[in-house]
Each structure stands twice: as C-alpha cells, then as structure tokens.
Amino acid sequence: MKLPVCWLKDFAAVGNATPQEIADALLSVGFEVEEIIYAGEDIQNVVVGKVISCKPHTNSDHLHICMVDVAKEILQVVCGAPNVKTGDVVPCALAGAKLPGGINIKAGELRGVMSYGMLCSGKELGVDDTVIEGAEVNGLLQLPKDTPLGTDIRKVLGLDEYILDVSVTANRPDCQSVVGLAREVAASLGVKFTPPTNKYKTVEYDGEYMPDVKIESDLCSRYTGRLIKDVKIEPSPEWMRKRLRLAGIRPINNIVDITNYVLTEIGQPLHSFDVRFINKGIVVRKAVKGEKITALDGKEYILDDDMLVIADSIKPVAIAGVMGGEFSGIMSDTASVFLEAARFDRRSIRITSRKLGLRSDSSARYEKGVDYTSVDEGRERALSLIYKLKAGKIVDVKADEGEERPKEKIIETSVSQICSIIGIDIPKQNVEKILRSLDIETESKVRSDKLTCTIPLYREDIEDFADLSEEVIRYYGYDNIKSTFLKSASCTEGGESAKDRKAGDIKNLLCGFGAYEMMTYSFIPEKACDMLRLEAGDERRKVIKLKNPLNEDTAVMRTQLTHSMLSTIALNLSRGNDEFRLFEFGRKYIPIAENELPDERMVLTLGFAGKNENFYEIKSAVNAVLAYFGVTYSVDYSKEPYLHPGVSADFTVNGKKIGSCGNIHPTVKDSYGINGNVFIAELDLEDLLDAEKNEIKYSAISRFPCVNRDLAFVVKEEFNIGDLTETIRQACGADLEQISLFDVYKGEQIEKGYQSVAFSLRFRSLEKTLGEKEINTLVNAATERVKAVYGAILR
C-alpha cells in the first residue's frame, strides 16, 4: 500500500517526524515499510528561472541564446524550444542536474556558444497536464509568472513528497487505507489521531429517477446508493490529483477521482453509474451461467453462476466489486450519477476475479475484506468530497439494503489472561491505555483483574484474548519480553527416527567413497522418460503432473532420480569438472490412486565420472550400501533401457529388484550430452530403511596362523567368475577364511574361448593350526569341484 506522508498527516499529528521515523514506528507495530520513496527522486538541481533576454543564435536557425535569472545568479543558456521568449518563467536545469530517464545536464558549447544549463519542457521533467497545466505543450513548460525564482522545481510540481510503501498483513484489511494506517502510526508514536469529518448539504428530492435496490444473494451483505444530479464532469483539483498520483493512481475526472480517493483514504471501494443506463432499478444477484458483460476495460467476459453481478431489469451493469460495465460508466456528458457503496463477500470476489483473470483496485480491496462501517464511512466521505468539489448536487434520497448494523464484539477477559501467553506481567493501566489507543473500549472494576473489551467493527481479526495479547505486546514492545528456557515445560524424549539415522549412515559411507552429496529439484521435465529410453509401458512414465509448473523443465514429479543425476553429471562435465563422484538421497513420487497421496520413496543415486572409473568401482559402492543393511542380493545383467546392456547389473533383494548400476547406454549419453567415462546407480532404499535392522553380533576371530595358497584355473569364458568363486568357497567350507581374485588372463598361452582365472586363498581354522595335509585336502576338493562343474583345469 502506497502511503503518501502528506496524506497521512491529515489524520495523524506526526509533526516533524521524518519519513524514516514514521517507517520505524510502523515497523515496530508490525507494518513493514518496504521502501521509502521520494517522489522527486528522478529530478535534481532543476530550479525556476526567468528568461530576461532572448536573442537568436547567429549560427543556427532555431536556437536562442537566453540569459536566465535563477535568483542566485544569471546564467547563459542556449535553448532550442520554439516557444521561448523574454519574460518566460520556466524550469531551468542547472549544470550537474539530473532529469528523468537518467539524463545528466552539463555545461557545454552549442554551436560555439557556452550554455550553462537547459530550459525544460514538461515532457523532459516527466510530467503531463494532470500534474501541471501546460506540461504537454510543444516547448518549454510555462510556469505562473509569480512563481518565486530559484525555487526547486520539485516543490512547484508537487514532487517534494515522501511515500511509504507499506506491506500490510492479511489480517489487517482495515489498514489498507490511509486512515487505518494513520490510526496505527498515531498510536505507535503516541500522537493525536483525528478521523476525517464529512460535511455536505443535500437538495430536495423531486421525483427524478432513482433506481431502487434489491439484494437477491447473500454474497452481498449490504448495498447502499445515493443519487447525485447536475453532475459536471471535469478534472479534479490539483491537490486531489497530486495525492492520487503519489498513491500511484492516474487521475481521470472528478467523479472517478473521488471514488479512487476514498478507496485509498478510507479503504472502501465505490462505484459510480450513469443513471441513464440503469433500466428500472438495481438487482444484486448471481449471474446466469453464460451471461455476458463488456467491462470498462473493453473486454467481454462470460460469467458463471457463482459470480455476483449488479444488474438492472435487463442486463448486468457491473461485475460486483470487480469492474463496472462499459456502457454504464461515467462519460463526459454524464449528468446524474448513482453512487454505490456496498459490501461483498471477499471469497466470492476473489474467486470471480481469479476465474475471469480480471483484477482491479476494487477487487483487490474487496478480496481482503471490507467491514460494515467502511461502507458508510466511504460513502459519506465521497459525498462530502462531491460537495466540496461542487461536482454535483446530492439528492436527499437513499438506497440502503442489507443487514442491520451488527453489535460490536465483546470479549470478557482479564489482564492476567492477556499476559499469560506473553509471559511477562504488564500493568493493568498499560493494557487499558494501549487497547484504548486502538479504539478498543475497556471496562473494568477497581481492584479487579477482569476486563470487558468492546471491539470496533472494523477489527474483524480480533476474536479472543490471544488477539488482544498481540495488540498489547505489539504496542508495549516485544523488547520487553525476557528470555526463559521452557521453565514450565516437561521433559520429553526426542531424537531422530531410525530411518533418518540409517540414511545418515549411508551418506557417511558414501562420503568415504569420495562421493559428494548433491540436491536437485523434485520436479523434472516430462521428456525425461524419453531421454532415458523408458518403454511405453514403463511404470515410471506414470508421473504426477503439476497443474501450474514454472516451465516445461519442472513440470512433473520425478519417479526416478537418474534423470537428475545424469543432468548434474552433464552440467559438471560441460564446466570442465572431469573427475568426480556424486550421490543423492531424495524422494521419488509414485502415484497410487487418484486423489490419494502418492508413495514417497527414498532413492539413492550414484554417479562416478572420470577416466579411472569402471563398473567394479561403482558396484563396490553399491555392495557397501547393501552390506550396511546386512542383506544378501543377486545380480544379473540389467534390463534398464538407459544402461549399457553388457556393463550393468540389476540388484535383487528378497526376490525384488531394488536397483541397478552400470555404464550409460550410448544413446542416453547423447541425449544428455555426456561425453566421458561415466557410471551410475539408482537404488530404491525405502523398504531397507523401513526394515528393522538387527544389531550386529560378534563373530569369533581365529587365533591360529593362516596359510595362503594361490590357484589359477583355465576355464571357458562363458562362465561367470562370481559363480566360480562361490563354488570354490562352498567346496572349501568354513576353513577358507578369504578368497580373492587377483588375475584374469586371456591371450597367447590360453586356448581361444578360455580364460585363466587366478585366486588367492587364505585358510584358517577357528580350532587348530591347519597342517599341510589338511590344506591339500581342501585345495583338492576345490579343484575337483570346479573341474566337475565348469570343466576348469588347474594351471
């Protein structure tokens, strides 16, 4: 809300308080001032000057050389304006001046003649005829001849003003007005608040047409109207135009300006109809579905049956509270005006405005809520301004339909109750003084803690004692609150869930693999499914779509995290980061049924990039994660369409596939623009994180010496080394402490189609020192077993 300081001063006796002091006062009671605006910000060093001589420039056919009296000195200025002549009183930009649009004025030579400034037009000062008469002429802005020379032009143009841009919270619609904020400022600074006084005279009603009003919907709780005749449409006076401009509203004509003025000052939207176009009375009703109206913006709107309209006997003449109809508005020849002041349901206005995509100052104000009293205050204010501006004659006839004045809310409370949630004792006299300064009447008996508070109708936000506590502490000052450390609270058991703790452990584990954690958005482009080559029937194509996404790239909720990982890898590679490991722990969103919250599952992705990475590196990280959960798993070549079919694995735990890892499919690499050696993994860890994790139990460590043996087998390439290893392990039994692969060889000394596979075996028993004979028995068992199963020959 734009609050011109000069306007505020009409109602709050702030004296010489600076704009900053007023802003601080507002901030201290909960109204943040986002900006203190100086209206003349764009103009500097421009003063009123008088042309005392004006001679043509000898070297130009249109320039003049003027001597200009700016009170302090007389300057030579070269001027190109067609209307310049001796005796003119005009704005003169001095050397070093600033004009709107970032123009700087310097002294300089013009066709061989020095010019120490510039005489200005209205346009050059950024003003038009609504600011000052003559601003739009072709040439210099001619100021009244009696304007004191040397005066700062901002004073003359009414730009020497400050405006506070106040952010008003949603609970205080009453402060969406100059008067409402003035009341708060006055209470905050402890100065006098004077509400506006309205005086006007009416003329007798002599039977002219006055629409009668019927309310047919409870979305309108009150509708009042007055008739103004002998209206003379003309520009409003300079002081009114100036204030409207400072508040950010464009002046139009006296009647429209008055309604806007009242909207800003009192916070009550008003609407003026030309009576000529209202056919036989006014009905406030819901629109008929499909009903059309052309609004003041010249556009046609098709209405819905939940929208409220102001209609005459034939047609809607306004979308209630949002915008008037094009053909019932004020025109230059309007002679009789029906002035509407009404109260419409804020939800209804909000819904209508959103559905139609049509906002106005009026709808914005109604959405926040207009109270019972502002209808009367706004209307009376408008009538007194019409009277004051002699814009028309107020006829002594009224329309006033709708609810009776409601009773003020009474809150029975006590000082101790009000203080109970604040936590400090505030003396009763302070409490009462604060509440009264806010127009809240308090009644109490001497030596009693009890308070009976009468809440003014415009404070619809105050409902119980907690609201009064806020009013009191807001003004008593939050700085008076002492810190206590939950002095009355009970001890509670806190802590992270087991799931969070496990997730934390996994993250630490991956940090140990040299991987950095990343965090990406939860929404991805829908085309990600195509980029990953997901098949038409893939479950991951069933994505939850946002109704109002920011853009295509963030349009659907992710059903996998691989897209985010690949995008991040691509970004890093493109920036020259060529060796890195990344991981992400985040949620995917799997739809269950319509109108049901989806299944949000924790997913882990890994991404290893760089020349030294390979399948086994990333597999070892996946192994480590699964080992943390203590589960056994099986692997098979992955069927993920985005992975290399021969360099990838699917991991199955308890018969359920939980994820995969591997090299990226070349086509997918191209889609993401990834150029480099990259391996990725994605694991759905939700079930593992949820499952109870057994505490690890100690297993005995043998105290006997170990014996190491190396064995190499020649075996067909088609057999998996994993299976071979497992077979040896089983054949050797419990005394084989460890088996590790140390070489795989294919080449000259080995028959084609075969490979040599070498293992290191370490034998150790828990019970005794193993002898040569026992070791040989175990080795023979293993050798014969792999020969039998795989036809493997010991080298």
Partner: protein
Amino acid sequence: MEEQIAKLTDECAAEISAAESESALYSVRVKYLGKSGKISELMKGMRDLSPEMRPVMGKIVNDARTKLESLFTEKGNALHEIELVTRLASEKIDITIDKPHPVGKLHPLNAVRKRLVDFFVSMGFDVMEGPEIETDYYNFEALNVPKDHPARDMQDTFFIGGNMLLRSQTSAAQIRYMEDHKPPLKMISPGRVFRNDDDATHSPVFNQLEGLVVDKGITMCDLKGILESFAKHFFGKDTKVRFRPSYFPFTEPSVEVDVSCAICHGEGCRICKGTGWIEILGAGIVNRKVLRTCNIDPDVYTGFAFGFGIDRIANIIHGIPHIKLLYENDVRFLKQF
C-alpha cells in the same frame, strides 16, 4: 706368547679402527676372532704351555678377546649408524607432491540441517518428516487458512489436482504430529518445501525447519529463550534476537524474528542491508484454533511454533550469495564445505 697376544691385539684394534664399512669390519672379525682366525690360532699353541701357565695365559687371551669384542661392537654400532643415516638420506622423497584422494562431503544444506537437528534433539525435540505432497487440509485449512483466504497469497503454491499440492511450508507437519502425539510435546520437522517462485533470490524448491512446543504454561518468553539459544549456537555467542510483530494465520501473536548481524555486529553492512539485523524466521504462539483442530484444549495447553529456511541459515553461515548455487551441484561448489 704374551707379547704376541699384545701385538695381535694392537694390530686388530688398528684394523677395527680403520674399517670403513660393516662388511670390512666383518672381515677383520673373521681374520682375528674367526674359527681359524689369528687369536684362535694362537689359542692352539696353549697346549704347548706348562699346566701352571695355561690358566694365566688363558686369562690373558680371554681378556684380549673381551677387549676386542667390545671394540667390534662399538665400531659396529658406529658404522651401522653412519650407514643408516646414509641410507635414509638416499631414501628422501619430495613431500610437496600431493596425491588427490577425495573424501566426499555432505551437501552444505544437509550438513547444516544435521547440525540443526542435533541442536534441537539435544533439548528433547522429536524429529518428524511429513510427506512433500500434501493435502490442502494439512498445508492450509488445519493451519487456519481457509480456502480463498487472502493469507493464501502469502505463498505461491504448486497444485497437483484434487485436493493435493506440493507443501508450501513444513508447518503442515505440525498438524500431523499433533494428531498422533498429545502434549507435552516438542518436535521439529525439517524438509523440502515448494513455492511457485523462481528468480535471483528465490528457488522453487527449498528447505525449512519447523519447530513446535506444546505444554502447560508455554509463553512468548520461552519462545525467545529457545530462539536466543539457537541464534547464539549458530551465529556466535554475542548474537541478539529481536521480535517484530507480524502475522501468520496459525500463530497468535505472531512475530518475525531478527538476529543481530554476525558480519558487522550491528554496525550495518551489505548482508544486513545496513540495518544491523537479519530476518531469519517467523514464529508465534500456536493459534488456539489450530490446537482445537488437533483436539488439544487451548485452555489447558499453550504452545509456540517457529519456522525458518535451512537454505537461508546455510547461506548466512557460509556466506553463500545465491540460493540457486545450492541446487546447481557444481562439484567445485560441493567440495568447499
């Protein structure tokens, strides 16, 4: 014979002294004390001596042997020391070379989140994570923000359809928690939230931490105490906390909370925009309607709630200038924290 021994001893001592390496010393040892060394040879001549002379000569020979042994040991140690020093010197390497071995790190946001969680857990706060896709009821209605209420304009929300939306505030978790737990309760809920807002200073995804305490006799003073302790813990022990009146539908009274600027200590700088204060969170006494919605009697219990952006805290702590950097995941960024 005695003379011979003395001569041999002197000769040997001279050779020990002259030996330049451990192997040369070993040769000297073999030459004199070996099985067929000169001293041993001499010993063979003992049998020619008279029986009474044998013990005398035996002692002389043994004394000589003992003397030489100790000379060998002494010289041996000295030579060993020299050779060790030489070897070690030859094994010297260039220690200024680095072999990179990256140790991964948590994302700065999660590292800060972990610290925050630890802090509140230490005071008995339970940790709860709610769903990120929420119903209108938990995100708005139960928090005293009815449909088409102007307070909804405070947050641009992403909608999914039906009654579902991406939660715009972790406050949604408050309601879920109070449905399942009754006072006395203390909880925090850290997590992702979403707003339809994307510019230089806003990210459509960010992280909040919601805190809630409900018990008998909870006041604004308790709120200030907890937040002051939080502020001192994270921004330095001299940090001050300031309350400013504000409005949130689910708290009454509501406050914005500022902390004194940790960079300039209240002098005014770029970070605090010259005010000396940094706005970090919103808080207040839980609205009585919200308690009632969760079947908690507001005449018996009161509570406070607070909520802040983890991103903002992380950015203040680490001096990160833009929130967008957090979600870009440039490895050069992630390595820093």
